[in-house]
C-alpha cells in the first residue's frame, strides 16, 4: 500500500520534527537559528499539503491547524513555527478564494464600518472541492520558501542606507541577520562595531570574530559596560527573536538594558528582523510563557544551596524602538499592526 506508506512516512517526519523542537529551543538543539526553523516548518507543511488526505480546503486547514498546535506546544518559545503555520493557513484561504473567483481584496478590508453594518458574519466553510487547489497551494508555499531564502539578503541590501562612514555601531550578542547587515555595509564603508558579549552564553564573542574576519574594526565589551559606552555610539543595531504584535520585542536578555541606555542617550535603536519573526502574540507581564528559562549550568557550576535563574529573553517595549528593518523595507513600530494584518488572517491568530 503506497498510500499507507506515505502516511506513516509523513507522521514519522512530523514526530521527528516535534522531537527536535522539544530538545532544542533557542538555537541549542539540532535546529539552529530561526531562519532555518522557519524553512524546516514550511517544508514540513508543504509535505503535509502534498501527502495528507484531504478533499477540501477546510480539511487541509484543519489538519495544518492541528499539527501547528502540536508544534507550537512542543516549543512555545519558538514563535517562528507558529508564524509559518499562520502564513500557510493564509495562503490556503487566498488560494481557495481565488479558485472560487472572489477577490481576496474585499475579504481582507475589515473596516469598523463594515463590522458594524454586517449582521451575521457569513461563515466561510471552505467545503467546495477544486481540482487545482493542491497544486496552487503548493505553488504558493514554494513562493513563500523563496521569500524566506532571500530575507537575509534583502535586509542586508539596505545596510548602506543606514550605516555611514566612521560611525560607531553597537550590537548585542549574535544575530545572523545583523552580521550579514554589517558585513554588507563593510564592503563600501568603514565603521566601528562594539559588541556586548551577552553573558552567560557569550554569543557576542562569536559575532565579534565573525565581524573582525571581514575587516571590521570590532570591540567586545562586557554587558555591564553597555551604558558607559553608549555615549560614544551613533546607532544601535540589533536582531531579535520575535517581533510582537504591539511592536515590542522578545530578544536575547540584555537587550532591554541596551534599549534603555540608547533611549537615555537618544541613540537610534534599529532592529533587523525578517518578516517571519512577526508574531501575533502580545506580551503579558505576569507570565514567563514568553520566556524560555534555560538550564543554569552556564551560569554556575558548583552550587547546592543557591537558587539560580537563567532567563533567556527580554521584553523590549515598542516605545524604545526607532525603526524596524525587514525584508520588505523599514517600518516604525507603530506600523507593525498593519503588517500583521497583511501577513496573517485574523481568524488564525489563535491556532
Amino acid at each position: 500500500m503506497p498510500g499507507a506508506d506515505k502516511e506513516t512516512d509523513l507522521t514519522e517526519r512530523i514526530e521527528a520534527f516535534l522531537a527536535d523542537l522539544k530538545r532544542g529551543g533557542s538555537g541549542t538543539g539540532p535546529l539552529r537559528g530561526s531562519g532555518e526553523m522557519a524553512r524546516e516548518t514550511t517544508y514540513l507543511l508543504r509535505r503535509i499539503t502534498a501527502q495528507a488526505r484531504w478533499s477540501s480546503a477546510g480539511d487541509l486547514m484543519e489538519i495544518i491547524r492541528n499539527e501547528g498546535r502540536r508544534m507550537t506546544a512542543a516549543q512555545p518559545s519558538e514563535t517562528t513555527v507558529g508564524n509559518m503555520v499562520r502564513r500557510v493557513l493564509k495562503i490556503i484561504r487566498e488560494e481557495y478564494a481565488r479558485s472560487r473567483g472572489s477577490s481576496e481584496e474585499t475579504e481582507q478590508q475589515e473596516s469598523l464600518h463594515k463590522l458594524l453594518t454586517a449582521g451575521e458574519l457569513s461563515e466561510e466553510t471552505f467545503r467546495e472541492h477544486f481540482v487545482h487547489l493542491k497544486a496552487n497551494v503548493i505553488e504558493a508555499i514554494n513562493e513563500l520558501l523563496t521569500e524566506l531564502d532571500g530575507t537575509t539578503d534583502n535586509i542586508a541590501m539596505q545596510a548602506l542606507e543606514h550605516i555611514h562612514s566612521n560611525e560607531v555601531i553597537m550590537t548585542v550578542g549574535r544575530s545572523r541577520t545583523v552580521e550579514a547587515f554589517l558585513k554588507d555595509a563593510a564592503r563600501k564603508r568603514k565603521f566601528h562595531v562594539i559588541v556586548a558579549e551577552c553573558a552567560p552564553f557569550c554569543q557576542g564573542h562569536e559575532m565579534a570574530t565573525g565581524l573582525s574576519k571581514v575587516g571590521i574594526e570590532t570591540t567586545v565589551i562586557a554587558d555591564a559596560a553597555i551604558f558607559a559606552v553608549m555615549s560614544r555610539v551613533n546607532k544601535v543595531i540589533i536582531g531579535t527573536q520575535t517581533v510582537l504584535a504591539n511592536g515590542g520585542l522578545r530578544a536575547v536578555n540584555g537587550t532591554h538594558s541596551v534599549a534603555l541606555a540608547a533611549r537615555h542617550h537618544s541613540t537610534p535603536l534599529i532592529i533587523c528582523a525578517p518578516m517571519f519573526k512577526l508574531s501575533p502574540q502580545v506580551f503579558t507581564t505576569c507570565s514567563l510563557s514568553l520566556n524560555d528559562v534555560n538550564s543554569c549550568f552556564p551560569v554556575l557550576k558548583i552550587l547546592s544551596k543557591v537558587n539560580v535563574h537563567c532567563p533567556v529573553f527580554d521584553y523590549v517595549p515598542p516605545e524604545l524602538i526607532t525603526l524596524f528593518i525587514s525584508n520588505i523595507g523599514g517600518n516604525a513600530p507603530s506600523y507593525i499592526y498593519r503588517l500583521m494584518s497583511e501577513l496573517y488572517h485574523p481568524e488564525d491568530h489563535k491556532l
Binding site: 506513516t8 512516512d9 507522521t11 514519522e12 517526519r13 514526530e15 521527528a16 522531537a19 522539544k22 530538545r23 532544542g24 529551543g25 541549542t28 538543539g29 524546516e40 517544508y43 514540513l44 509535505r47 506546544a73 505576569c286 507570565s287 514567563l288 510563557s289 528559562v293 534555560n294 538550564s295 543554569c296 549550568f297 552556564p298 557550576k301 558548583i302 552550587l303 547546592s304 544551596k305 537558587n307 539560580v308 535563574h309 537563567c310
Partner: protein, 705 residues
C-alpha cells in the same frame, strides 16, 4: 538530514534506509529497569523503582528520553521485579508508538538477580552487535554523550578492541547535593589517554591505597580525582557482555571495573573515562537522591527535560511555568490566600485549600489539599488527600495516601501506598509507614510450621499484632510502621538506607587495602576492651594462686589459662605479658607492697621455678622472648625501687631456660626506646649480667667449634 534531500528520493526510500543501516549500524542501548536491591522498600513493594514518579513523570521515561535524544535507535529494556507493570507502562507510552525513533524491546525474566545476569543474557541472546550504552532505569540526565561515543569509537578503531568501556562522569565538587555518598569514587587516570588506572569507592574509607604499579607504566601524567560524579552511564563494547559471561561472579558494574583493572595485564582490556563539565546526570539510588534530583529538575537543571516540556507526550500532562519556578497543570485550583512560594510543581486536577503555604514541593495529579497546610520539600504523588492544618517537611507521600487533620510529618518520613495517618499526630523524624506489615514475610514462613492445636492461639496473637496501632498511625490511621527494630539487622540497614543515611559505615566490607586492615588489627591489639584484659589478669592470678594452694600440675594450669584466653578473646602476646606481670607481682599481691628487694626475690625465685613449665609453654618463638622481656622491663620500670631484683629474675629465668641468651642480648641492645629504659640498662648488675652472658656465649661458641 534535510527534508528536501530525502524528498527527492522518496520513491526508493526503502532501499535507501536499508543501505544506510548497513553502513552505519543503529546505536543500541541496554536499559536495566531494576535496581536489584531493596533500597526503596516498602515503596517498591507496590511499584517498581523505575516507575516511581519524579516530577510527575515515571523515572524510566527520563532515561528513555535521554537515550533517544542521544540518538539511540534501539533500546532493550530488561525488567525483573514487577515486570508486568513496567511493560504496561512502556506499551502505553510514546516509546512504543510506531513512529518512535527509538525502538524499545522489553525483555522480562524473573531470573535476573543482578546486572551481571542481565548482561550475560544479552550475550546469550546475542542482542548487541555494536557499541551500546548501558544505563539503569532510574538515571536522569541531559548529558550529550555523542562526544564520549565518538572518543570511544576512535579508541576502539586505533587500538583494536582494547578499550571495553567508557564511563561517563560529571565534574562536581565533593559536597554537591546531587552527589550520592554511596557512589563517591576516587579515580586515578592517565590524563592523556583518559584511561582508568585505579577505581575505588570511597564510602566509609579513611585511608586510600593506590598500587604503585599504576604509576610506573603508561604516560607521565596522572590525575587522581575525587571531584567526579558517577552518572551511571557507560558506553560498552559488545565484549562487555562476553566478559560478564566469562566471569560468572561479576554481579555489578563495580565488580566488572575492578576485575578489568586487576586483570588488565592478563586480558589486555582497558577502561576509559569521559568527564563532562556541563549537563546533568544522576542516578536516583535512594530517597535522598530522589529529593535532590527532583528539586534539581524543578529548578530546571535538566533542561530541556523540564516539567512544562511534557516530553512524554501524554495528554493533559502539560503545565505552565511561571516566575520562581512555579508549574501548574491543567485545572489546578488554588484557595484564597494560598501561597506557592518557589519551586513548586502541581499536577492536573489538584485542588488546594485556603491559606496554604507551599514551597519546594512536587504535588501529583488529582490531589486534594485542605486549608492551612504547610508543605516544604514534600513529594506527593497522585490521588493524595491532605486534610486541613497539616504540616509536611521533606517527606514522600505515595499514591492514595490520606493524611488527616492536624498531622505533622517531620523530616524524612515516608507514607507508602494507601496509608492513612491521623488525625492529631506528629510522626517523628524518619518514620516509614506502609500497608505491608514488616513481619509479613517472616510470618508467612512461620505459618507452615505451626501445628494444628497451636494455631488458634497463635492466629489470635497475630491479629492483635496485625491491628493498626493507634499510637503509631493515629486513631483513624491505617498502616504499620516499617521499622528497623522489628526486623533483623539486615533490614535495619535498609530502612535507614531509604534516605541514604548509612549510620554504620562498615569499612571492612569494601576495603581491599591491606593497610586499613592491618591498622585495625593493631588498634584492636593495642586497646581492646579494657575490662576484658583486667578480668583476664584477675582470673590468671586466681588460677595461679589456686594452683599453688592445691598443688595443681602445670599442664592443667596451662589448659585453664588457654580456656580463659578464648573466653576473654585475648591474643597470645597479651597472655604472655599478663602472665609475666602476674607472676612478677605475685609476691606483692601476697605479702603487701612494702617488701624489701631481698624479700621479694626470695619469694619470687621459687615461684618462677614452680611455674617455669607454664612459661615454657607460652614462650617459644624469638618474638615471644622479646615480648616477655619487655613485660619484665615494663614492670620493673614501674617498681623502680626493686630494679636490682631484675637481674636476679632474668638470671633465674635464664637458668630455668625460660629465656634464651640471644633474646636477652637482643633485648638489651635494641629494646631501649625511651630515657627510662635506657636508664634501666645502665644498672650495674644488669651490665654485669649481660657481660657474663656475652662471655658465656663466646665460650659456648668456642666449645662448639
Amino acid at each position: 538530514m534535510g527534508l528536501v534531500a530525502s524528498r527527492g528520493g522518496k520513491q526508493k526510500k526503502g532501499n535507501v534506509t536499508s543501505e544506510q543501516e548497513e553502513e552505519e549500524q543503529p546505536l543500541q542501548a541496554v536499559l536495566v529497569a531494576d535496581s536489584f536491591n531493596r533500597r526503596f522498600f516498602p515503596i517498591s513493594k507496590d511499584q517498581p523503582r523505575a516507575l516511581l514518579p519524579l516530577g510527575n513523570v515515571a523515572m524510566i521515561d527520563y532515561t528513555l528520553e535521554f537515550l533517544t535524544s542521544t540518538g539511540v535507535q534501539e533500546t532493550f529494556v530488561f525488567c525483573c521485579w514487577m515486570s508486568n507493570k513496567i511493560k504496561d507502562h512502556l506499551l502505553k507510552s510514546k516509546w512504543c508508538r510506531p513512529t518512535s525513533p527509538n525502538v524499545v524491546h522489553i525483555i522480562t525474566s524473573d531470573l535476573y538477580r543482578s546486572l551481571g545476569d542481565v548482561l550475560r543474557d544479552v550475550d546469550a541472546k546475542n542482542l548487541v552487535r555494536n557499541d551500546f550504552i548501558l544505563v539503569y532505569g532510574d538515571v536522569v540526565s541531559n548529558i550529550d554523550v555523542s562526544q564520549a561515543l565518538q572518543e570511544h569509537r576512535h579508541r576502539r578503531k586505533v587500538d583494536k578492541n582494547i578499550s571495553v568501556m567508557t564511563m561517563v562522569f560529571k565534574e562536581s565538587s565533593p559536597g554537591h547535593k546531587s552527589r550520592c555518598e554511596e557512589d563517591d569514587v576516587i579515580v586515578a587516570m592517565d590524563s592523556k589517554s583518559k584511561r582508568v588506572l585505579h577505581y575505588q569507592k570511597t564510602q566509609g574509607l579513611k585511608k586510600l591505597q593506590f598500587p604503585m604499579n599504576i604509576f610506573q607504566h603508561g604516560s607521565d601524567e596522572f590525575e587522581i580525582r575525587h571531584d567526579l560524579l558517577d552518572c551511571h552511564i557507560s558506553i560498552c563494547s559488545p565484549q562487555v557482555a562476553e566478559l560478564f559471561t566469562d566471569n560468572f561472579d561479576y554481579q555489578t558494574r563495580n565488580d566488572f571495573v575492578r576485575g578489568i583493572l586487576v586483570n588488565e595485564e592478563i586480558l589486555g582490556n582497558q577502561i576509559h573515562l569521559y568527564v563532562t563539565q556541563d549537563g546533568y546526570g544522576a542516578r536516583v539510588s535512594n530517597l535522598q537522591m530522589y529529593d535532590s534530583v527532583s528539586s534539581d529538575m524543578v529548578r530546571r537543571w535538566v533542561y530541556p527535560l523540564t516539567p512544562e516540556a511534557n516530553f512524554t507526550d501524554q495528554q493533559g500532562q502539560g503545565c505552565t511555568h511561571s516566575r520562581h519556578n512555579v508549574y501548574r497543570g491543567a485545572e489546578v485550583s488554588l484557595g484564597h490566600g494560598s501561597q506557592m512560594e518557589e519551586n513548586v510543581l502541581i499536577g492536573r486536577d489538584t485542588s488546594i485549600g485556603a491559606n496554604c503555604h507551599i514551597s519546594n514541593s512536587v504535588i501529583g495529579n488529582n490531589c486534594t489539599i485542605g486549608d492551612n497546610v504547610v508543605l516544604d520539600r514534600a513529594h506527593m504523588w497522585n490521588n493524595v488527600h491532605i486534610s486541613s492544618n497539616v504540616e509536611i517537611h521533606q517527606s514522600v507521600v505515595c499514591d492514595g495516601a490520606v493524611v488527616k487533620e492536624a498531622v505533622r510529618l517531620n523530616k524524612q518520613c515516608v507514607l507508602a501506598y494507601n496509608v492513612v495517618i491521623g488525625p492529631n499526630l506528629s510522626l517523628p523524624e524518619g518514620t516509614v509507614v506502609s500497608m505491608h506489615h514488616p513481619e509479613e514475610e517472616e510470618e508467612d514462613d512461620d505459618d507452615e510450621f505451626l501445628s494444628d492445636d497451636q494455631e488458634v492461639g497463635h492466629s489470635k496473637d497475630k491479629t492483635r499484632q496485625k491491628a493498626f496501632n493507634p499510637a503509631e498511625v493515629g486513631p483513624e490511621g491505617k498502616g504499620y510502621i516499617w521499622k528497623a527494630s522489628m526486623n533483623d539487622t539486615e533490614d535495619e540497614e535498609l530502612a535507614q538506607c531509604l534516605w541514604g543515611l548509612v549510620l554504620n559505615p562498615d569499612p571492612e566490607s569494601d576495603s581491599e587495602s591491606e593497610a586499613s586492615e592491618e591498622s585495625q588489627d593493631r588498634s584492636r591489639s593495642v586497646s581492646p576492651e579494657i575490662d576484658d584484659v583486667n578480668a583476664f589478669q584477675l582470673e590468671v592470678l586466681g588460677t595461679l594462686q589456686r594452683g599453688l594452694e592445691e598443688n595443681i600440675v602445670c599442664d592443667n594450669l596451662v589448659l585453664e589459662i588457654n580456656s580463659l584466653k578464648y573466653a576473654y578473646n585475648i591474643t597470645l602476646k597479651e597472655v604472655m605479658q599478663i602472665l609475666t606481670r602476674v607472676v612478677l607481682e605475685y609476691p606483692f599481691q601476697q605479702q603487701g607492697t612494702q617488701l624489701t628487694t631481698l624479700q621479694y626475690t626470695g619469694s619470687l625465685l621459687p615461684l618462677l621455678k614452680t611455674w617455669s613449665p607454664v612459661f615454657k609453654n607460652y614462650i617459644k618463638r624469638a618474638q615471644d622472648h622479646l615480648d616477655c622481656l619487655s613485660a619484665v622491663e615494663e614492670l620493673f620500670l614501674e617498681q623502680d625501687t626493686h630494679q636490682t631484683a631484675m637481674v636476679k629474675v632474668l638470671m633465674k629465668m635464664y637458668q630455668l631456660e625460660i629465656l634464651e641468651e640471644e633474646a636477652i642480648l637482643k633485648w638489651f641492645s635494641t629494646g631501649a626506646t625511651n630515657d627510662k629504659s635506657r636508664q634501666l640498662r645502665k644498672n650495674q648488675g644488669l651490665q654485669k649480667f649481660i657481660q657474663w652472658l656475652k662471655e658465656a656465649e663466646d665460650e659456648s661458641s668456642e666449645e662448639g667449634e
